[in-house]
Symmetry: C2
Subunit: 327 residues, 2 copies
């Protein structure tokens, strides 16, 4: 067992309270008392017991980051930034991975984490606004990423419709006309995908083009393999001259399919991705993509957690289209 305040107190010949005062830097402690107590602390290797502190303060300094999969590059990069910024603010991040499983998401929403965390940053995959509204847990919650419908919680996201329009506009501006998309979600649940699709359609229509159903390819998940598969299917019907992929991972998978079929990017087919993950910067050719400001997202989300109690807000983080070599 580790040394407790009491052990230190006995060792230094003072009261428990005085040791506590030293540990917490209380002002009115005589210099030599402080020195003596500190010596005992060092000698006994005393470390404050965080459980006891937490019990006293009902505050843990922990926040949970809930994501479908931490090894998906977008979430990994977001997690890295969240952890870093949280560290600066004296918070520690605990990772919960749902694998996109509805039941696991629901459990976490409804307080599986108990009093363990001071707040939850939640990147939903399967749960719907209705599930959020039914929440009884009182731990502050901030949603990461798009969601629609009126959910009574803060959420931080970029403007997906605008971003998708910019991506599509860029493809149109470079002369492409047969523009496909990869990343439509079969279930209507994923709001980000829906908004990106909406933006794409809006921009096509604004340009005077009618959407072609066959060019809007669904995927099950957002992995490279899904993009690869969808691209192959797309090529089987008609070869588009551009593909707007709803994530960079899908785009990288699609590019591999194109390479295997001997098609050149961007000469035969232009590609735009979404997320600006590190891999896209080093792919050959380098990927044009919509870049959400991940530092801002993490930072704004932590702000929102800290500011809870106020009426829920929708917070828009900045994004930008980064043109590289695939368009």
């Amino acid at each position: 067992m580790n040394a407790r305040l009491r052990d230190v107190a006995e060792h230094a010949g003072v009261s428990v309270r005085t040791v506590s005062n030293v540990v917490n830097g209380f002002r009115y402690v005589a210099p030599d008392t402080r020195t003596r107590v500190q010596a005992s602390i060092d000698e006994l290797g005393y470390r404050p017991n965080l459980a006891a502190r937490t019990l006293r303060h009902s505050r843990t300094g922990l926040i949970a980051l809930v994501v479908p999969e931490i090894d998906s590059p977008y979430f990994a990069e977001l997690a890295a930034r969240t952890v870093r910024i949280a560290q600066h603010r004296g918070l520690t991040v605990l990772i919960d991975q749902t694998d996109g499983d509805f039941e696991r998401e629901r459990l976490l929403l409804h307080g599986k984490r108990g009093q363990l965390v001071d707040g939850v940053l939640f990147s939903p995959w399967a749960v719907a606004p209705a599930d959020l509204a039914a929440r009884t847990d009182t731990v502050p919650l901030v949603l990461l990423g798009e969601h629609d419908g009126p959910a009574p919680v803060d959420h931080v996201a970029i403007d997906n419709v605008a971003a998708a329009r910019e991506a599509t506009r860029h493809l149109l501006a470079t002369g492409r006309r047969r523009i496909a998309v990869i990343g439509v979600q079969p279930r209507t649940l994923n709001a980000s995908a829906r908004q990106r699709l909406a933006g794409y359609r809006q921009e096509l229509e604004a340009f005077g083009l009618a959407p072609v159903v066959d060019r809007e390819r669904p995927v099950r998940r957002l992995h490279r393999s899904d993009g690869y598969q969808a691209m192959l299917e797309l090529l089987d019907s008609e070869t588009p001259d551009a593909v707007f992929c709803f994530t960079d991972q899908l785009a990288l998978g699609a590019m591999r399919a194109l390479a295997e079929r001997g098609l050149s990017v961007p000469d035969d087919v232009a590609i735009v991705g979404f997320d600006d993950i590190e891999d896209g910067r080093y792919s050959v050719p380098a990927l044009t993509t919509v870049s959400p400001d991940k530092d801002q997202i993490a930072s704004l989300a932590l702000d929102a957690l800290a500011a809870q109690g106020k009426p829920p807000r929708s917070i828009i983080a900045p994004h930008e289209l980064i043109v590289r070599a695939t368009t």
Copy 2:
């Protein structure tokens, strides 16, 4: 404030202890008492206070995973597996990110986490065995990855020397003779890099080739940009016919440099990486690599944490060479 055992007790008209018995599934609780208490629990939305439980049991169910950067794909994939396996075992993982900073690593080793975690999985970058030996903290610790010198802690790693020899042997077997490496660490600290270099040299010598100093390229970190840079430098002196990169990220950076210089992989230059990250499976061409069994690493490390108290062991996880299209 959330409901406490006492609130539930009052609401149900029983003692606090009885509620506790219900919550913990104690045998001797009358069925209708149990029902009544459960109803009160549901109505009040009672959740056990983990801090209090922890204080009582001196066990948190948390373990820390300490890595240089969580968004480096290898660590992201390792973290994903660790989190998943830990969940199965009733543990929650908390991520600490050191950015490879010596001071941050030292702090974590010496108990910054206090009594918050039941164990630490530590993937060191900057700290040396001596720092480990000087550790006073009593929280169980398991090192992930190579380290040499006698450190009095468990560690889990693959056989880096053997793996590097296999990679080199494979390149030799495909007829390559001017084999360079990228990933040597300028400081002698990183043991993995040192062992991979040793394996490479051993295999060359066993084949009757003398190592060429100029072909052993150092890097500062293990990012794509480092591999890119190192490859460019390598091309400025002499074009090797193969490069063994100490991580897949370095390899992907190197491949980008080769593409820019108009060199073909694998025709002009063969590439072998190390880590088997997802990106390498979808790069064009797909990357030949040494694949450490990450599930085994995570699983063995958690076993080792659970089994602490016994004399420290070196645990070897399996690996295999996966031949794809870059060789």
